[in-house]
Amino acid sequence: MTNNFEKQSIDYPDETIEIASEILKNFELEESPEELEKKFQLGKESNIVIIAEILRKYKEKNLSFPEFTASLQKQLNISQKKAEELATDLKNEVLSLARKSEEITAEETEKPEEPKSQDVYREPIE
């Protein structure tokens, strides 16, 4: 059982970052190879790392949706409209995948109900 003083970790499926990356691509926010290398040489983080960081904060600090949108707009330097649309997509397609570790444990331990087998000791009632 989770201790009161422990923070609950949040687990994402393996492909989460790939999905986030795809969303960035749809919004034309994915860097070209040249941009990526340039950013790296300058010690700057790529958009996907920025997104991951914002998603983490959103979940961790229970940010409101407008705060989440504002964060995206500021960090990625995009318009408010684009930021809102991006936030909606991220919320629906990425954040919805998040599961608390307790939920996972419960799911793993819950066994699916086995179909009742026919009682061989009773004759069928006609």
Partner: protein, 609 residues
């Protein structure tokens, strides 16, 4: 200078080896006396083996069992009568009746029947071992081998060549203990025979009675086999002692054949002369031991236990003894060598060098001979020497190629098994203390298996692997970041690895930039799967690597240049994946404050969670 050096070696060697040599001689003498005594008693007839008239023990015991068997005969008659009346066919009563009558007659003559068999064997034994033969074997060894060569050895300060003296000591000690052990086992066998045969004679009426019924027949057969084997073993043992004695005579007549064959170049003339004289006695010794083993092949019950004892306890006692002495000698020799070399190399001046050498020699011998570390180093050096010998044999194709590697690793595996139960802390301390020994390498092996090898022991471990003491694969599966110390690369090691295999490596690997970069390169789009298999420590380490490389891209640039040269697309793809590694880790660091747990106020007014 040579004689001074010889004296310096002879003094400590003499102190260690002389008492052992005396012990060996005493053991051989004792074994010889015991065998002579047992053979004389066996063949003198004073201790009758089968006759109740001449042996009071048999008289008392046999009379009792005969009377019991006679009671059994009467009861058997009643039983057969009842069986016939009640038609109990399973007991074959008619056949049993015939045998009952015959056995009733034989029971009174069982000592005579046993006597025929035992006497026949004793006649043969007496032929093979006429008076003096058994004692001559041991006496010849004592006279021609020991007393002839011990005199010179006891003059330790005669300035003789040290190697020859040590060689003589070791050969004589080996002859003393091996020969003594063989003679004692022969004596024990004959002594057991003198007890076993009377017991079998005492039990003979009961054994004969058992022959009547099918259900008890097996006990008669068991008894019969024992009687035959115990009788025969005397003749067989006598035969091999007889052969050994003749072998001695033949060798004494033609000593030159053996002496001429010894090469003088390798071991020096004095040792060669000694070996030439003594080598012939090795043949006799071999005859004695092989004869003993052949005699044991006829071993009946009791002798079988003696055989087992000889094979296990005797062997292990001899082995433990010789191993202990060997360890001390090895340790002392290695210690002397290392101590001398160390002191000589540290002191530059003429006298200082000599005094330093002497000090190192003495301290080294003491440390090597009497401290555990020194003895362990000695033991390790022996395996090292054996390894070098095996490598030569491998080159000559006399032993299978690659067998030397497994030979060394088997020695380490045996040591690892001894320290398997120790705690990790003890293993780490032990591996540091016994760094240059097999014991220490065994401890390293356990640490690798547990994945608890500290970074301070990595270079010591890779050194042991390079010297083929430890296998490479299990180490690299857990510590691939150390691949470059083993003439391989992380890329080669992790060529076909899955996310699981990457994740299984220890957390130290995730602090290592080349390893983390290689993992990113191999995993590509599957980085999410890899990150989710890492525990918190490993994720933290990997993120540290990412941050460091981001701040200082030199190392990453060199990795990109090596792996992708000027392929812009591949470079960018890799950088993208590297960023995704960080993104995956950062995303997974998310956590949430749990909702506050409600507090319940119970009736007493106390708060309870």
């Amino acid at each position: 200078m040579t004689s001074l050096f010889a004296k310096i070696i002879e003094i400590p060697m003499g102190v260690i080896l002389q008492p052992i040599l005396f012990l060996g001689e005493g053991f051989l003498g004792l074994a010889n006396a015991l065998l002579t005594w047992v053979v004389n008693i066996s063949l003198s007839g004073d201790w009758a083996l089968t006759s109740p008239a001449k042996n009071e023990l048999i008289n008392v015991g046999w009379t009792l069992t005969r009377d019991l068997a006679n009671i059994g005969i009467v009861l058997g008659l009643v039983f057969i009568g009842l069986g016939t009346a009640l038609r109990l066919t399973e007991f074959k009563t008619q056949k049993a009746f015939v045998w009952l009558l015959i056995i009733a007659l034989f029971i009174n003559f069982t000592p005579l029947i046993c006597g025929l068999i035992v006497d026949a064997s004793n006649i043969l034994m007496k032929f093979f071992l006429p008076t003096g033969v058994s004692s001559e074997i041991g006496e010849t060894f004592l006279e021609k081998v020991f007393r002839a060569h011990m005199g010179g050895l006891l003059e330790m300060f005669a300035g003789k060549v040290a190697f020859a003296s040590i060689f003589k000591f070791l050969v004589l000690i080996a002859i003393g203990f091996i020969g003594g052990f063989a003679l004692i086992l022969f004596a024990a066998l004959f002594l057991l025979r003198m007890v076993a045969i009377p017991i079998l004679v005492i039990l003979s009426p009961i054994a004969f009675f058992c022959y009547i019924f099918d259900q008890t027949k097996k006990y008669f057969e068991m008894w019969w086999n024992q009687l035959l084997q115990w009788s025969l073993i005397g003749a067989v043992g006598g035969f091999f002692l007889y052969l050994t004695h003749h072998c001695l005579r033949v060798i004494e007549k033609t000593p030159l054949i053996w002496q001429r064959a010894v090469p003088t170049g390798a071991i020096g003339s004095e040792a060669a002369v000694f070996l030439g004289t003594v080598s012939s006695y090795f043949v006799v010794l071999a005859f004695l031991v092989i004869g003993l083993l052949a005699t044991f092949q006829f071993s009946p019950m009791g002798a079988k236990e003696l055989t087992a004892w000889a094979k296990t306890k005797g062997k292990s006692a001899l082995w433990a003894g010789s191993k202990g002495i060997g360890n001390i000698l090895r340790g002392a020799t290695i210690g002397m060598y290392k101590g001398t070399v160390k002191e000589v190399s540290e002191r530059k001046g003429g006298w200082g060098k000599t005094l330093g050498g002497l000090k190192g020699f003495g301290m080294g011998a003491l440390r090597g001979g009497w401290t555990t570390e020194g003895q362990e180093e000695g033991k390790t050096s022996t395996v090292e020497m054996a390894t070098k010998g095996r490598e030569m044999l491998e080159k000559m194709h006399l032993i299978p190629i690659g067998s030397t590697e497994s030979y060394q690793q088997k020695a380490v595996a045996a040591e690892a098994a001894k320290s398997k139960a120790l705690s990790t802390d003890t293993l780490i301390k032990g591996a540091e203390t016994y760094a240059n020994t097999i014991k220490g390498k065994g401890m390293l092996s356990n640490l690798i298996q547990r994945g608890e090898l500290p970074s301070s022991l990595i270079s010591q471990t890779t050194k042991a692997i390079n010297q083929e003491w430890l296998p490479k694969k299990p180490f690299l599966e857990k510590y691939p970041h150390a691949a470059d110390q083993l003439q391989t690369t992380i890329a080669d090691v992790t060529k076909n690895w899955s996310a699981n295999q990457f994740a299984k490596t220890t957390k130290e690997n995730w602090n290592n930039a080349p390893y983390v970069l290689e993992a990113v390169k191999r995993m590509g789009k599957n980085l999410g799967a890899l990150v989710r298999r890492l525990d918190t420590d490993k994720r933290g380490n990997a993120l540290n690597v990412y941050n460091q490389l981001n701040q200082n891209p030199e190392q990453l640039n060199s990795f990109l240049d090596t792996n992708f040269q000027q392929d812009r697309k591949q470079r960018a793809e890799f950088i993208g994946n590297f960023q995704k590694l960080a993104a995956n880790i950062k995303l997974d660091l998310a956590y949430q404050e749990p909702p506050p747990t409600p507090t319940v106020i119970v009736e007493t007014g106390e708060k309870e969670k």
